[in-house]
């Protein structure tokens, strides 16, 4: 007897086989076979023509390469004379299709980039001039920041135009020099082949490069420029260049916005060290505990310990924020435990402690996940060898497991420190940076504000964009230095693999 499952399988297989047979028969029908043959013949004809043309062309260029030519020319004059108009030089040298491409570049340079820089076709600004004047002499509705952004755009467009002009000059110059030496100029076939080969990476990354320039680099350039202006609440529509005034205020800790800088920096450093180290400690200990031989239910523990990482952080942070609110559930629990009303959100160190604990809770999962992966990869021989040498379990952990864990995860752990240094969501969503302590952290920042949330408050909420940008730059320079330090020492970078 066949079981019903086997029967069904048998039936399906039979069906498939029959279908296959039908397909084969259909192929063998004379009319279909003929059609197929015609299609194939057409295809082959096309392909043959293509490949023969290619062979012909490359034979041609071979011959051209081998037969030198004599010219009366001594100096690459055309390139010297025609560089202002890309395309003209190529045309004079007889490379017509290439000239067409470079003429398109000319159009960009002379009809878009240069007029834009001169203030034509701007949205509101005045091209490059706007960067100098910052709309000081403009009408009442003109805004300095728009003038600044359009000035930067003008610079970018100009640079692109210049690049095209320079490339064209170099191209004409190279061709001319080669002609003087007796090398024939490339024909279109040769140009196309060489562009396909060496130009591909540029074409492939051009869209990405454009987006990066305008979405990533332009805003950063504007930030750098704003940090040298007096863009603050009383200069919202019109601001002016102010030199290093913002930086001076920050370093000396003066003014409403710059005053609390050092205070906040101190707390940011404390926060980064404690919050990250706590998360690493919890994650490490949990991973070691779960991975012991005699623990049962490993899967269950692992899944549960991943939850804080898997649940979106903004939801858990907001929920904890509700629970610690005045009259919130956890506040009431704490109050009944201590016997007095304990409002975490009104106390500086209360908020700070809870924030660090909360980040420990949130961050431990990721560390746990990484460590578990590595622990499972440590070969058992190491422990057996240690045992034979007389090591206790504790010694094996201390001298084998922990060093291996720390070495392999070090770069990612450093990443965790920089992540927490800039951990905006937890600070902003938990208590909005509060509680406020005007004597220490001024009127803008709360006492749990990190530099990043302080910058947010300065630039987005309180309109101190100038100082905010300056702080951004100082912080970023430090971060960039750290990142570069790690980056340049990495294997990929040193082995020239990058």
């Amino acid at each position: 007897m066949i079981s019903s499952k086997a029967f069904a399988n048998e039936k399906r297989e039979g069906g498939l086989a029959a279908k296959d047979e039908i397909r084969v028969m259909r192929r063998q029908l004379p009319i279909n076979a003929q059609k197929e043959r015609v299609r194939y013949a057409r295809h082959k004809l096309r392909q043959d023509k293509k490949s023969k043309m290619r062979v012909l062309n490359s034979d041609l260029s071979d011959l051209r390469r081998k037969t030198p030519v004599e010219t009366a020319k001594r100096k690459p004059l055309i390139s010297y004379l025609t560089w202002p108009l890309p395309g003209l030089g190529q045309l004079l040298l007889g490379q017509r299709l290439k000239a067409l491409l470079f003429f398109a570049g000319s159009l960009f340079a002379y009809l878009i980039a240069i007029p834009y820089a001169l203030g034509r076709g701007n949205y509101r600004g005045k091209g490059l001039y706007g960067l100098i004047s910052l709309a000081q002499d403009g009408s009442r509705l003109d805004r300095s920041v728009i003038f600044m952004v359009e000035g930067v755009i003008a610079i970018i467009l100009l640079l692109m135009g210049l690049l095209i002009i320079y490339q064209s000059y170099r191209d004409v110059n190279r061709v001319e020099r080669q002609m003087i030496r007796g090398v024939r100029r490339h024909n279109w076939f040769e140009t196309r082949t060489s562009v396909k080969r060496s130009g591909f990476p540029f074409f492939a990354s051009a869209p990405a490069a454009l987006v990066t320039i305008f979405i990533v680099l332009l805003p950063i350039a504007v930030t750098i420029l704003i940090s040298f202006t007096n863009y603050d609440p009383s200069h919202q529509s019109k601001f002016n260049w102010a030199g290093l005034a913002n930086y001076k205020q920050i370093v000396l800790g003066q003014g409403i916005a710059g005053g609390p800088f050092w205070h906040i920096t101190g707390w940011t450093v404390i926060w980064t060290i404690f919050a990250t180290s706590l998360a690493i400690l919890i994650g490490l200990v949990l991973a070691l505990l779960v991975n012991q031989d005699r623990i049962y239910g490993k899967r269950l523990f692992r899944t549960v310990y991943l939850l804080p990482w898997a649940v979106p952080a903004f939801i858990t942070i907001m929920f904890f924020s509700i629970m610690f609110a005045p009259d919130g559930p956890l506040t009431n629990v704490l109050s009944s435990l201590t016997g007095q009303i304990t409002n975490i959100k009104y106390s500086t160190w209360g908020t700070r402690t809870v924030l660090i604990l909360l980040q420990g809770w949130l961050g431990s999962s990721y560390v746990f996940l990484l460590c578990t992966g590595i622990l499972q990869g440590i070969p058992n021989d190491l422990y057996e060898a240690a045992k034979i040498d007389g090591a206790t379990g504790f010694q094996a952990t201390r001298h084998i497991t922990i060093p291996l864990l720390l070495f392999q995860t070090a770069p990612l752990m450093i990443g965790q420190y920089t992540f927490n240094f800039n951990n905006f969501s937890i600070i902003y969503l938990f208590n909005g940076g509060g509680p406020f302590e005007p004597t220490k952290s001024g009127n803008i920042a709360g006492s749990s504000d990190l530099l990043i949330s302080y910058i947010y408050k300065l630039t987005i909420q309180k309109q101190y964009q100038g100082i905010g940008s300056a702080i951004t730059l100082i912080v970023s320079l430090v971060l960039i230095f750290i990142a570069w330090f790690g980056f340049s020492r990495s294997k990929a970078f040193r082995e020239e693999r990058l």
């Binding site: 540029f202 990533v216 903004f314």
Partner: protein, 296 residues
């Protein structure tokens, strides 16, 4: 343990438990279960709150539990929750698609071709991106109005997509490039001899091999908009256009619009699919993160 039933005969591979080890093991279990409680308690609170009909606008302790779906009804009836879900999914999909398109080209070009400014450009952009993105917010606003003055249909959400996709290019290019580097170039050479062009080599040879890494990159770019709170809260100004994170925040940040249990309900609905995704795909997600980090 069950093997020990047969008294006098010890069958386990492991050395027998000493008294100290029993204590240590018990301690381990206590610690592990304690932390399970620490994790599950707050999450369980979200679950119970969202289904507890006795909560008013605020969540309080000691409220008895009555099963009810009225917070969910409020969420779907009185708030723009469905809009937020739809917005987030659209933004995430567009971001993932754009990132995938950009990065496939750049990753391939940076890995397989040697050209001027290759090392410098990637390093520079990677380093410059440590500068927090909202610092350039003034530029973002202006850029958006400039583009919108040319193309009026260009909404703030589209700009958000561009920022997400543009911000991810450098990092993801680095990840993908590293992955393509590990594929032998002999495969490419063979394909080229057979007559493949640049793009054909990518499409027919490289892409099938790097598909796992492309999947990871797509996945992370897709999840990003679900988790980000900062950029949408700055850029988007219409509650209907909000994403999930900013939308749910409106339910708890304003006294007039305070509905904490509804927030819990919305949070639950958001968290469940993402959590399942993370737990199910943890290995793939971590592999993307780990290869993105600088290797020592």
């Amino acid at each position: 343990m069950s093997k020990k039933k047969d008294k006098g005969l010890y069958l386990s591979d492991r050395p027998p438990l000493t008294a100290v080890k029993v204590v240590m093991l018990a301690l381990s279990y206590i610690l592990l279960f304690f932390y399970v409680f620490v994790i599950l308690w707050p999450l369980a609170q979200i679950l119970f709150t969202s289904f507890n009909g006795n909560h008013g606008s605020y969540i309080q302790i000691g409220v008895s539990f009555t099963f009810s779906t009225r917070h969910f009804q409020y969420l779907f009836g009185e708030t723009y929750f469905l809009n937020w879900v739809l917005n987030t999914i659209l933004i995430a999909l567009a971001t993932a698609t754009l990132t995938l398109l950009f990065v496939s080209f750049t990753g391939y070009a940076y890995s397989r071709y040697r050209f001027k400014g290759r090392k410098a450009s990637l390093t520079a952009v990677m380093l410059i991106q440590t500068i927090p993105s909202f610092a350039g917010i003034a530029a973002f606003y202006t850029l958006h109005s400039i583009i919108a003055s040319i193309a009026p249909w260009f909404s703030r959400q589209m700009f958000l997509i561009l920022i997400y996709a543009g911000g991810g290019i450098a990092g993801n290019t680095f990840i993908l490039k590293d992955y393509i580097d590990s594929i032998s170039t002999e495969l490419d050479d063979a394909a080229r001899i057979d007559g493949c062009g640049n793009l054909q080599v990518y499409r027919l040879i490289i892409m099938p091999i790097v598909r796992p890494m492309l999947a990871v990159i797509t996945l992370w770019s897709f999840i990003g908009p679900f988790l980000d709170f900062m950029l949408p809260s700055i850029l988007l100004n219409d509650p209907k256009a909000y994403t999930l994170a900013t939308g749910l925040h409106t339910l708890i940040n304003d006294v007039r619009n305070m509905h904490q249990p509804v927030f819990a309900a919305g949070g639950l609905l958001t968290a469940v699919p993402i959590t399942i995704l993370f737990i199910a795909l943890q290995k793939q997600l971590v592999s993307g993160l780990a290869s993105g980090a600088v290797k020592g």
